[in-house]
Symmetry: C2
Subunit: 378 residues, 2 copies
Amino acid sequence: MSQPFSFHLNKTDGAARRGEFITPHGKVQTPAFMPVGTQATVKGLMPEDVRATGAEIVLGNTYHLMLRPGAERIAALGGLHKFMNWPFPILTDSGGFQVMSLSDLRKLDERGVTFRSHLDGAMVALSPERAIEIQALLGADISMQLDECLKLPATREEIARAMQMSLRWAERSKRAFESHARAGCALFGIVQGGDDIGLRQESAQVLTRIGFDGYAIGGLAVGEPQEVMLKIVAETTSVLPAERPRYLMGVGTPHDLIGAVARGIDMFDCVLPTRNGRHGMAFTRYGAINLTNARHADDSRPLDPESPHLAARTYSRAYLHHLSKASEMLGAVLLSTINLAYYQTLMAGMRKAITAGRFADFKAATEAEWARGDLPAL
Amino acid sequence: MSQPFSFHLNKTDGAARRGEFITPHGKVQTPAFMPVGTQATVKGLMPEDVRATGAEIVLGNTYHLMLRPGAERIAALGGLHKFMNWPFPILTDSGGFQVMSLSDLRKLDERGVTFRSHLDGAMVALSPERAIEIQALLGADISMQLDECLKLPATREEIARAMQMSLRWAERSKRAFESHARAGCALFGIVQGGDDIGLRQESAQVLTRIGFDGYAIGGLAVGEPQEVMLKIVAETTSVLPAERPRYLMGVGTPHDLIGAVARGIDMFDCVLPTRNGRHGMAFTRYGAINLTNARHADDSRPLDPESPHLAARTYSRAYLHHLSKASEMLGAVLLSTINLAYYQTLMAGMRKAITAGRFADFKAATEAEWARGDLPAL
């Protein structure tokens, strides 16, 4: 009885877009940021605390979940939503990126990849069809095609070859997805092509002809300057269909997010708010703050007295400094939730500004506030 | 305007006692279990989640807090309650136990101890007077005297000497406490004497003559058989004044708690529910359950479908198994809160049973349920 996956574009303001998409587990307002729940958990946070930050969708990692606890096991337990007690939308990646970054890649050919598990050394096969099957077993609201993620640096020829392979895998992914028909669920294709605008646009155009529910941009934020990334984003979104969501994978800092929304991106995921939170760094409207710095040791002020998030208004900088210096788990927990809440506040601010037709003003004011930096020391 | 610290004994049932004490930060129902907040945090848990387990009081560690972030610093930041965002009662220990267990003890004499910090190697002095001053700076509702905690094994002569020293330090602690008069706050003396009933009773009697707001039993649960511990508890509580709370320090398992309440103990603290939770162990009415065991990998049942605590009813054993095997922080967080909630449920059950005059039945039924063990495998 589910309605089909759909994306509604409510308003544009320059290239920035305000919309929403509908999944079997509910609606998501865009532009949206998805916290990363790698191993069926956003690290350290109870799902109700993730929800309380304002998150409407989280990301799960196919690579990690297929190795442990296993996709068939999660399916037998009722699917990923039930397993991790997150009844809202979930997007899963296809595993391609982690196969490249975490495993000893043993063999990649037209059929797929065979790799050595980083957990137990077992040899594991992943094909476009298996990646779709796994995501269906997990019960993902949004599945991603398997793509080939190159290790960089790479030559233009290598980038072109991998991009073409990813396009062929995109076609196979779509056929496999159709054979696992799940009402209302979506499949996204992934644009590749490195830093070559021509390859990127070719990839986007072929994917559009194949036809997906949404289009991701992969292979960015891998070390290139931000201006290069944003240029590729702009040149890619310009050839993607307006009526489908665009997802910039693995991005990024607050600066990246606001810059990419300005260039037509609707969705993001990134480990930065949680990973940096585990290392004593807070994201705030004053910019990034390193709480391990001794200047916070006696500072009784909260991170941001005007934050809509309770923890950011409640705990003193001195306490967060103490927890981070003492490597206390609660430091990671509090800063992860504070950072995720800041990201969601930023996204909500962008959505409101686009609706009001004043995105450029919002972007300039927000960037100016970051540039001014943290509160002066006490 | 605080009322003085007071303890009200509402009901006895055999040696078991039902009461409450009143502190500047609120009332505590006894028998009570105090979660351990070593470094100004119950590891991994937000204070509201600690409170939601039913905890009415937590313990803070003088040794840890004096070294980092420092007692004067916490005082300048408004005290420990504000620092850790726990507006309810706090008991602090005196540091004696951690000086013995964590530091290179350099020198112990009549004046006090000088030890090397386990954090940075600095030499630090702790005397009975300084221990009281630190606890006043922290703002403890209940302070503990400094005592000498022996490394075991020790001869009877050594135990007697340390016990006598602890009594002299008890007198000095009381004088120091009176000079830091804080309305409504309490000071507890600590009974020492190893496994020697005569020394234990002498210690208890001298402490009672000095006069404290409550009496702790220290130096137990350090490896002796449970029956030895419970015998010493019984022989010690029998000579302590009925109108003051008795606190068994650092104890223990659920078995220990119910056995010690049966022998007249009113208060406990222990790291077991949180420490074991971080290692994949759950305390339940079915006994202790090791969730890292493979038999839980496909078990969709919650730990205890009838638990009053939401997390124990919600998350599957398979999920808790997965989190523990994957060393995910959320496994530690969920099992710590589930375990603390079980401890509080157990204490609440004991309180209710004592009030109803059926403590022996409750104890027998609870122990029988533990002995039956976990649910049969699916």
